[in-house]
């Protein structure tokens, strides 16, 4: 959406013969990066893209007073920049520091040392969500090939935890189940993997089998349906409820209306007759039951089947720093594309009607009176019932999901300033991150002369961090990053409205 909006802006305002000159350098070594692509701001989208020469230089014609570019090169993190240029003039040389990617590779072997094919290895990292630590996937991970090899690339440097899920390999032997590197059942027992920018490290999994417990049960249907042939397409799934694995399920054997899951490790599960591929229809049979598994077998679970019913989900939007909230469009979108929307009332309340079971993502946007949504403000917290659902997919079953509570921040403070390196020279093309005491994030970009403007969602004490790649923008939710860089700059006190200009001087590396 951001790309589209910028494209529309670009098409609306075309100064003649305005050029951008730039140089792309490796952020670690300072060496020029040749053959980097300069996408977007270099012309009409879809036109051939300029590349950097052997000295890392590029020249591109700007299409708009506000230029937006993405610098791409395999082996580096993408770098996006938007900055103003004066029509008809050549802008000062843009210096882009590309951050080398980190790569984690390795192999997965079974108990006998044979490669495991078709399993998945993912890198996870801790994030602060609603002020609480949560282990989340970094993108999608990698599937092992017939050599058992995996490769996770394009990562920002940092601390990760590797998670293994057997996928179809569990059909072969269900005693192989989800583990954390090197062979831990729980994330808190996992060994962290630290990887630096430009580094490629290898970590192999040597899996062991775990007996777990047995879960048996039967499908219990309403009296009216008893005696009829079981509806086809009503398989039972045992899905692990976990923020680390959004849709991981264990193999379940079914015979008629009985089911058995063997070698189930301890954990909290949902026993249910649907996956996210379900196309729910009101009235179709569905079963959905929470199940805590400890270290003893669970026998004769009754999975009650009920007709799918649509539910209305009420919610409230609270605006930080505003007494009168703007109308917001709230959308629950299924990964398969269906969506339901509502526009909030004057008091921030809204009701999403007719929500069917599935895996959803929440979207919140400003809604103009014409019904056209524009990006403004940003959600700070998103909760459904007692679940934190910010920036992730989440399940809604057939039971009442609870109320949605959304906190939205709108810019309330403006900070201008200048970013200088240790020698006092301006630093351009950097992201200046502000983190409030209650973990509200805001940021601005430095221009060619090191100046920046940041519109903050919250006043008060702010920690400041500098990063150079968009992939690192999220690092203010990473406790390890905060610990490592928390003292780079003194904490500043920001008032609502305008503030005294800041001069930020970076430490020598």
């Amino acid at each position: 959406m951001r790309l589209l909006l910028l494209f529309l802006l670009a098409a609306a305002d075309l100064p003649a013969q305005t050029f951008i000159d730039g140089r792309v350098l490796d952020s670690v070594t300072g060496a020029p990066v040749a053959n980097a692509y300069i996408a977007w701001g270099a012309g009409v989208p879809g036109d051939p893209m300029p590349t950097t020469d052997s000295a890392g230089h590029f020249r591109a014609q700007a299409q708009n007073k506000q230029v937006y570019i993405v610098v791409k090169h395999n082996g580096y993190l993408d770098c996006q920049r938007d900055f103003p240029v004066a029509p008809g003039q050549t802008a000062p040389e843009l210096r882009v520091l590309l951050v080398p990617q980190a790569v984690i590779t390795g192999h997965v072997f079974d108990e006998n040392g044979l490669p495991v094919h078709g399993a998945r290895v993912a890198a996870l990292h801790y994030r602060l969500v609603n002020g609480k630590l949560q282990l989340e996937h970094w993108r999608f991970g990698s599937e092992t090939n017939e050599l058992g090899a995996y490769r996770i690339f394009g990562m920002p440097a940092g601390r990760y935890y590797l998670g293994f899920t057997p996928q179809k390999f569990a059909d072969w032997d269900p005693r192989y189940n989800a583990r954390f590197y090197p062979d831990a059942a729980k994330a808190e027992d996992a060994q962290p993997v630290d990887v630096k920018a430009g580094e490629e490290i290898a970590h192999d999994f040597h899996l062991s089998r775990h007996e777990g417990v047995t879960v048996t049960g039967h499908i219990a249907r309403p009296d009216a349906q008893r005696g009829k042939e079981l509806s086809p397409g009503l398989p039972v799934h045992l899905v692990l409820r976990s923020t680390e694995y959004s849709d991981y399920s264990l193999p379940v054997k079914q015979a008629g209306e009985s089911f058995t899951a063997a070698h189930v490790p301890p954990g909290t599960y949902t026993l249910r007759t649907w996956r996210d591929t379900l196309r729910p229809r009101i009235g179709d049979p569905i079963g959905d039951l929470a199940l805590d598994v400890a270290d003893t077998d669970i026998r004769d679970v009754s999975l009650e089947i009920r007709p799918i019913a649509a539910q209305d989900i009420a919610g409230t939007i609270v605006f930080q720093g505003r007494t009168k909230p703007a109308p917001m469009a709230v959308t629950l979108s299924r990964s398969l594309g269906d969506s339901k929307s509502a526009v909030s009332n004057d008091d921030g309340s809204f009701v999403l009607k007719g929500i069917l079971p599935g895996q959803y993502h929440l979207g919140v946007r400003n809604a103009s009176s014409a019904g056209v949504a524009q990006t403004d403000g940003r959600t700070i917290t998103e909760q459904l019932g007692d679940r934190d659902i910010e920036a992730q997919m989440f399940d809604i079953g057939n039971d009442a999901a609870g109320a949605l509570k959304i906190t939205v921040g709108a810019p309330v403070a403006k900070v201008i300033g200048r970013l200088l390196d240790a020698a006092g020279q301006p630093v351009n093309s950097a992201i200046i991150l502000f983190l409030s005491e209650n973990h509200i994030r805001s940021h601005g970009f430095s221009g060619a002369d090191g100046t920046f403007t940041a519109n903050l969602l919250a006043p008060g004490r702010q920690h400041i961090f500098i990063v150079t790649a968009d992939e690192e923008l999220d690092d203010v939710r990473n406790p390890d990053f905060l610990k490592a860089h928390g003292d780079d700059f003194p904490v500043v006190q920001i008032a609502a409205g305008a503030n005294v200009p800041l001069v930020l001087r970076m430490k020598a590396q």
Partner: protein, 425 residues
């Protein structure tokens, strides 16, 4: 009192003797070379084992019953489970080594394809044309077609891809970008191995069991032509709370990799599409009605048209389109003599501007069925189990070819159900 313990002991001894006397010895061999396959995973019922370095495995203390034997080795194709009889004591399990196609995808500038921008590596297997299969791309020889197989791979951060566990056969490799051209260099074309725009110029890859074949692909850059035309839409007042929009789309006919135009909106009653390569296309236009709150709910096609156009080496203007109201797709199901008549599920599949769309209805007691107005595209109808039905439009069998919707002379479809699967013509 003394007899009782003896009576108990006899069956236990028998049971013990039965268990002790049943064993299974197996050898796992490469189906091509005959060499032993070391270290394979072996499963006999719920018992797990592993072959040794000589490909041999052994189970003992087996009950006198039948078992299912499964064998798995990561470098070999999946083998069907084997039924082991109650008295069977030996078994030979042949496994076929999987082939591998691997390589590097480079862009038109000779650089490794950028990772994470939507390039996909597709693998097609050459197979004899199967009248019952849909979606195969016929090869110029008229005897074979290409069928997409295997996982879809994306080039990694080195531009590399690797497709493994391939059955021996003939394959083609194609690289596409799943992004719309506006999001990337529109002159970069989906390309077949090694450097071909169409399958006729592509190079087939012969894969033997266990062989590794390198197949580097360099994407082709080629500028296309500009296509434009006027669009006329019938006068229409959308119901309160709804709005309409119209899109035009040019989709290549019968080509897996050729790129479509993307959806072109209407400006001042005209549509325009850029950078299309020469070839046959289906020109589709659709007016869609949806909720006016921006959420896109309750979408339904209202007007539409589709026609075949041929695009040459030069820009093409004057492709004028007159959209027409979209009618229901109706028809009647009949049964071959001797078949049990009754309601059957009827399925409709079309490939319109929004990708593959499907709908299903159940025929009424008199055999009639009706689908609501559908998105303009080539529609395929099926009924009952696969291969059970022949579908006619007038006197023409359209079971495999489908039919263009909306058509100039809409008429009801006729579906004939045969009694046994495979009875389609």
């Amino acid at each position: 009192m003394r007899i009782f313990p003896l009576l108990l002991l006899v069956p236990m001894a028998l049971l013990y003797a039965q268990k002790a006397s049943h064993t299974l010895d197996g050898d796992i061999i490469d189906s091509i070379t005959g060499a032993p396959v070391a270290s394979a995973r072996v499963k006999l019922g719920s018992l797990y084992g592993a072959a040794d370095a000589r490909g041999h495995f052994h189970f003992d203390n087996l009950s006198p019953t039948t078992y299912t034997l499964s064998v798995d080795h990561p470098g070999y194709l999946a083998a069907n489970p084997i039924r082991i009889g109650a008295k069977q004591s030996t078994v030979r399990v042949p496994l076929t080594a999987g082939g591998i196609i691997y390589g590097v995808v480079t862009d038109p500038n000779g650089l490794p394809a950028l990772a994470g921008v939507g390039f996909l590596v597709l693998l097609f297997e050459q197979r004899p044309i199967d009248s019952r299969s849909l979606g195969g791309q016929p090869l110029p020889d008229g005897k074979n077609e290409l069928v997409k197989v295997g996982n879809i791979e994306s080039p990694d951060d080195r531009g590399q891809y690797r497709s493994s566990l391939l059955a021996p056969g003939i394959y083609y490799v194609g690289v596409i970008s799943q992004r719309a051209p506006d999001f990337w260099d529109r002159t970069w074309r989906s390309t077949y191995y090694p450097h071909a725009l169409d399958v006729a110029s592509a190079k087939a890859i012969q894969v033997q069991a266990g062989a590794q074949v390198r197949a580097d692909v360099q994407l082709i850059s080629q500028t296309g032509v500009h296509v434009s035309g006027r669009v006329t839409i019938p006068a229409y007042d959308p119901p309160p709370g709804t709005m309409t929009f119209t899109n035009v789309h040019l989709a290549p006919r019968g080509a897996f990799l050729s790129r479509s135009s993307g959806n072109s909106g209407i400006v001042d009653g005209r549509f325009e599409a850029d950078d299309l390569l020469p070839g046959k296309y289906t020109l589709m236009a659709e007016t869609t009605q949806m909720s006016a709150d921006g959420a896109g709910r309750d979408q339904k096609p209202v007007f539409g048209i589709q026609r075949e156009v041929e695009i040459g080496e030069r820009d093409l203007s004057g492709l004028d389109l007159e959209l027409q109201p979209l009618a229901e797709v109706t028809g009647k199901v009949t049964f071959d003599a001797g078949c049990a008549a009754g309601p059957v599920p009827v399925h409709l599949r079309g490939g319109g501007m929004m990708g593959v769309q499907e709908d299903s209805v159940v025929s009424a007691a008199d055999g009639s069925f009706a689908f609501a107005a559908f998105t303009p595209s080539s529609l395929f109808i099926s009924a009952g189990a696969p291969g059970m039905a022949t579908v006619f439009l007038g006197d023409i069998d359209i079971t495999k070819t489908g039919f263009d919707y909306p058509s100039a002379t809409p008429e009801p479809l006729r579906i004939v159900i045969h009694c046994a699967a495979g009875g389609g013509q």
